[in-house]
Amino acid sequence: MNLQSPQLKLQAGLTIGYSQALASAAEDISLGGGTHFLIARNGRGKTTLLRTLAKTLKQIDGDFLASGKTQYLPEDLRFDPEITVAGIFKSMVPAANLKTATDLAASIELDVRKAYGKLSTGNRRKTHLIVAENSVDSSSGNILLLDEPFSGLDAYAREVFENIWRASSDQVLRLVSCHPDYDSMGMPSALVIQDGGIRHTVGSDQTWSQLKHQLN
């Protein structure tokens, strides 16, 4: 088995944006396997950074290196309203992981017989996350870029996914944009976009409560 550690390296000067620059990396940033949170106020460039790292949007300046099989889960992703969750899993998830995906859905109370169009926002989010998590290639390093995966998700489901993330942190690098809803949420590694700069801040006891004061 060829297990490579996933890596994301943002060079100092990497500038993201559309026609105008939104933010630049203030220093060289290197991320390895594990969960890294991406926080910023609205419109500061969280989605733009994720799309740039997913290579669906060209950076304005600078460079970055992404080593690992990438999946970018857009916040507004949606499937056809007629197809059932089971149909989505059958089409999208490798056959070897289908049972794991179905079991995970059952454990977080996602009815796989329901049509996607009849699911609540939270249950749609669960569907997307199950597809992404079960599409991870176990023979190589993976990069998962998740845009607001927690919005609409209940606390129990969030905990289940966070446990899965912890268990596969060596093999999967997750960059997760979010607006946490409780102060004590641990964020040992976070990319913060503030005042046009992208900075990496780490600390084992770092929480949302401490980081949110940096955002103004």
């Binding site: 997913a54 669906t56 970018y72 507004d76 007629e82 197809i83 149909g87 999208m92």
Partner: protein
């Protein structure tokens, strides 16, 4: 082939393909009763043949191109196209997988039409029958060759300019190709 499987499962679930199956497989046998074949029985078989191929063409144009355009549009707007792109499925590959999926439903139509014409509308004379079989299979192949690029065109145009533009582009080309020579612009 995840996008192919997803599109095929979605189309199966929507069940609108049943209309095409009905239009090509059943409707010609009902339409013969509003043809002049009711007054002249010799015209019944030609009426079935004509109705069958007309239904196959109409189904392909109205269902096939609309479905292809709709898939191209929704793939571009729903975030799925972007998701697949980041997993390494190029735009060209996505177009191919959506085209193949729509074509999976479209390809049986000319084969059903040819089958009905051969089984239910064959000439009585053995020599003519063998020519009739060859003619129908030639027409089925021609049908597939013409429809294949137009389905891809509908998907491609719709992914950039929306489903209505994608549908109209391919439908206009198909209708002009079928009947354009008969139009008079004097």
């Amino acid at each position: 082939m995840r996008l192919y499987r997803l599109t095929t499962a979605t189309l199966l679930r929507r069940r609108s393909w049943v209309i095409c199956a009905f239009a090509v497989g059943i409707l010609p046998f009902l339409l013969q009763y509003i043809s002049s074949g009711t007054e002249n029985p010799a015209l019944l078989k030609p009426a079935i043949a004509q109705a069958t191929w007309a239904m196959a063409l109409l189904s392909s144009i109205f269902w096939g191109f609309f479905t292809a355009a709709n898939q191209g549009d929704s793939n571009a707007r729903s975030g799925l196209g972007e998701y697949f792109l980041t997993t390494g499925v190029s735009a060209g590959r996505q177009l191919f997988e959506m085209w193949l999926s729509v074509f999976t439903y479209l390809a049986p139509l000319p084969l059903i039409a040819a089958g009905i014409c051969i089984l239910c509308a064959s000439p009585a004379l053995p020599d003519e029958r063998s020519m009739w079989i060859a003619t129908n299979f030639q027409y089925a192949i021609l049908f597939l060759l013409v429809m294949a690029p137009l389905v891809a065109l509908a998907t491609a145009v719709a992914s950039r300019f929306g489903s209505i533009t994608g549908f109209l582009t391919s439908a206009t080309l198909a209708i002009y190709g079928l009947y354009g020579g008969n139009f008079s612009f004097r």
